[in-house]
């Protein structure tokens, strides 16, 4: 009775489906929503600080290594791309290819902490630390928080890769792989916002 009352006519054609699928599983999307909320709060902090200290944010971005920001962004989008290819290959029944794409995604993802370490060494050599001003305090806080989230993602990739190599995922059932992919893509989107904050908007 309730179901009949709740059912609505569906629209056919190119319009998005009224009840779509959940990429991965519901649990990972609860986590992604929490992750988005956490970073939205940090983004608000960024905009408040930027509105109060526009000169510090203007000059601060010029002191950072823009090359480091570009390299990290390229690593993140490439890693995200490789993992999307892993999901798509498995769907098409190409399991070995899917594992190869996932390994490529892991290698690119591991490049992120390496690039971050080198960037921090470069910063310290140029006298930039957490006490160099409001811009750098916000920069370190936001980028380190993102690094922590990327670290969870890297652990997730290792876990899913292990399960994938044991043949647990198939073309029909691979929600674990898709859940990991969703989390990593969300973390990628967050970095795509952070990158211009500190490396472009001088």
């Amino acid at each position: 009775m309730i179901a009949n009352t709740m059912s609505l006519p569906t629209t056919l054609g190119d319009a998005p489906p009224a009840t779509g699928r959940v990429p991965g599983n519901k649990g990972i999307w609860v986590g992604i929503c929490c992750e988005f909320v956490e970073f939205l709060v940090l983004f608000v902090v960024y905009f408040v600080a930027r509105a109060h200290f526009p000169d510090a944010f203007h000059s601060g971005a010029e002191r950072l290594s823009q090359a480091a920001g570009v390299v990290i962004t390229l690593l993140m989008v490439s890693s995200s791309f490789f993992i999307a290819c892993s999901v798509t290959s498995l769907r098409a029944g190409r399991r070995r290819e899917s594992i190869a794409w996932l390994i490529a995604g892991l290698v690119a993802a591991l490049g992120y902490p390496v690039a971050k370490y080198l960037e921090i060494q470069w910063n310290l050599a140029h006298g930039i630390d957490g006490e160099s001003g409001i811009f750098f305090t916000v920069y370190y806080y936001l980028t380190f928080t993102h690094m922590v989230h990327a670290f969870w993602g890297i652990l997730g990739i290792l876990w899913v890769l292990t399960r994938h190599s044991f043949g647990i995922y198939t073309a029909d059932e691979h929600s674990g792989l898709e859940a990991l992919a969703s989390y990593w893509h969300a973390t990628d989107i967050i970095w795509l916002v952070i990158f211009p904050f500190f490396y472009v908007l001088a």
Partner: protein, 102 residues
């Protein structure tokens, strides 16, 4: 009655094109920072690039168009938040600073 259902993609081609677009937009960004156009114009272009990149990842990597409406809404909101905030702080930065003062 047979229902019409859009299925997740099995072709790598849209993913490759999306990745190339993301790489191109990333390499374009430093040029913007180095002073293409006026300060306000740069902010608007950067806001547009953030939105385009986020939209590309959501649409082609996450396949948001096939996802549950709640997931689609969450992604749309998160991706639109920063570009809108950049535009607002570019034109109303002083007012926003006064509003956000304790």
């Amino acid at each position: 009655m047979e229902s019409i259902e859009r299925k997740p993609a099995t072709s790598l081609r849209p993913l490759v094109l999306t990745w190339l677009a993301l790489v191109g937009l990333t390499l374009l960004s430093p040029l913007l920072g180095n002073g293409l156009g006026g300060q306000e114009a740069v902010q608007l272009i950067v806001a547009a690039i953030i939105w385009i990149k986020g939209h590309l990842v959501a649409r082609h990597f996450i396949e948001a168009e096939l996802a549950h409406p709640f997931i689609r809404s969450v992604l749309r909101f998160f991706i639109a938040f920063t570009p809108i905030a950049i535009v607002l702080t570019t034109f109303f930065g002083d007012r926003f600073a006064r509003f956000a003062s304790l």
